[in-house]
Symmetry: C2
Subunit: 395 residues, 2 copies
Amino acid sequence: MAQFAKCMSRVSGEAVREILKLMADPSVLTFGGGSPARETFPVGVARDIVDKSLADNPAALLQYGVTEGWPALRQAYLDHMVRPKGVKAELENVMTLTGSTQGIGLIAEIFLDPGDHVLVESPTFLSTLNVFRRYDAVLVPVRVDDDGIMTNDLEEKMAKYKPKLLYTIPTFQNPTGRTIPADRREKIAGLAAKYDVIVLEDDPYCDLRYRGTPVPPIKSFDKSGHVVMLNSFSKIISPGLRVGAMTADPAIIAKACDAKQLADTHTSNLVQEICAEFLNRGLLPGHLKSIVPLYEERLSAMLEGVGAHFPTGCEYTSPEGGLFVWVKLPGGADAQALVKRSVAELKIAFVPGRPFFADPNEGLDCIRMNFSSNPPEKIKDGMERLGKFFTAECA
Amino acid sequence: MAQFAKCMSRVSGEAVREILKLMADPSVLTFGGGSPARETFPVGVARDIVDKSLADNPAALLQYGVTEGWPALRQAYLDHMVRPKGVKAELENVMTLTGSTQGIGLIAEIFLDPGDHVLVESPTFLSTLNVFRRYDAVLVPVRVDDDGIMTNDLEEKMAKYKPKLLYTIPTFQNPTGRTIPADRREKIAGLAAKYDVIVLEDDPYCDLRYRGTPVPPIKSFDKSGHVVMLNSFSKIISPGLRVGAMTADPAIIAKACDAKQLADTHTSNLVQEICAEFLNRGLLPGHLKSIVPLYEERLSAMLEGVGAHFPTGCEYTSPEGGLFVWVKLPGGADAQALVKRSVAELKIAFVPGRPFFADPNEGLDCIRMNFSSNPPEKIKDGMERLGKFFTAECA
């Protein structure tokens, strides 16, 4: 049988497939995944928008659209999600995406030649690592502390490796939940210009803030056009719609549209219209206000449970928002082995840390836990039982 | 500013952008593009499906889905569009796509290493040529006659170039409208097995047959698993939804899912549900029955107009279905120059033939005309005026 391309041998969907498999078993209490709570989906509004919009504008919605995006959504994204965050942008700076995931792939595709260096936070979103591997990039981890990327290390590595890209999730990072403060963001934008490095700022969680003060995106500090900002409707409206958007220099938008045209021609008009109308009806602020207390309660339940029941010597993050808490277990724990036993014995799932690192020898004792998709009682129960399990295993 | 990847310099969105620009001017009568008629969109059904399905199953529709596709659509596609065509397949053989365009990209991505040879019909769909160029494939045109691919030439080139892929649109081909008969299809499937070549059978128009007898897909003759069949909902329900599907060997489906997971995670659930319900409610056969006379009338108007008014020495195809008629103008015409003057002087657009050929020196005197998106009166008027223009210019 014909051989698959060599580049595909570097890509493994295994880690994500394992997570999905664990989530598919309804008898397992899962803290894996990164799904928003189904209770937050604006079902009635979505029904009403589709009904009205298909009645008013059926031909345009059901006909081919343009690669740059459904015009109403490009404008609404600019007005409601870009400019209010202090980013100076015009229509030529924005395009819509089939989920912000698509933006990661498009930026990798249009910028990366085999052997190009890419800087990544260590740890970072595991699917993105696979995207960069698929393009045969050399992954260079950048050191992080509780405030995310350490800019001294970043500058050293920009100077040493002359990377094409830096990939960062600056707000409530996946998997750690950490947020980069404004002064470091400004510094990152400056370094990108100085060393001619594209910054891929992946910011799907920025509106899910339950505590503390919002921080402007790195893009708001960008004077040279080096920063590409990705935003998502998955966590604030619905992930099943698959809608995201990108803000970047017009030359980057044009090249990304060339690549997107070949990838899927354009994103479905109908789901873009749902997002556009949601924004244009002014529903986002109120919707976020209703989500925040729900998630804040779940985050508190997880942090309290970890603090009360997890073994001595555990280190864990205390995010101000997002979906994830990151735990480093004590005693040289093997998280990969532990998750298998936890699922078998406790019927509780979480994600082992290793796939989030570019270096396969890192993160063996780390786990990522999602708090958004279970009610507080289940989180409390889960943390208590997991805590006992880890205490017995990692002592 | 950071350099774009070298591979992207081989890709130009120019030809398609030019077409879209011509189509955007409402004062231009356009036979460019490949859009289905807006009158055919099942608006009421789509509204009803979204309304009912979002009421019945909101959490699953709006939550993350699986990369393989919305389960109801995978099953419905298999039951209504794969098995009835004589293709033996199970669920593991099918996945859904963000438009069948995505399938072309995924198959190129998972099979092509730089320098791999790819056989293409000459002419063929221009966007596909760009996809293969982007993966640095060597394009080898295969000779065609009125029955499409000439299998003697195909076998010679399979033996000589040891290609990884053959790309074909076997039914009502884009741009020529030609259909490969059953005996050649069987031969193609056999040659694919003999020479270990993947056949990418792109079949978006197969249900738009206005005359003659349906021909089984190449996939129905596939005994070795070398044929990948792509189908689309764009021409039979709505292109704005962006839904397609693929039937292939399970190992190919699994690898394509790895690539799709990185590309867009999954296709929007809601638009997949519209297609699934449309099939499951048994609406497709009746819908096609209503489309066929509409398009048949338009095809007739175009063929009659070309026959009556185009200059002596014109050669043109007489398709039994699909969306396109292909014309070779006489006298060494320069179609690229003619379309510019035709738009400026006549306010009539069509697509010049050159971008449909792998060899940029071919097709200079050819044009593609779409008959699906204009009513018969406009087609009659357009053919008459174009015929006079060509007669004056190409005599």
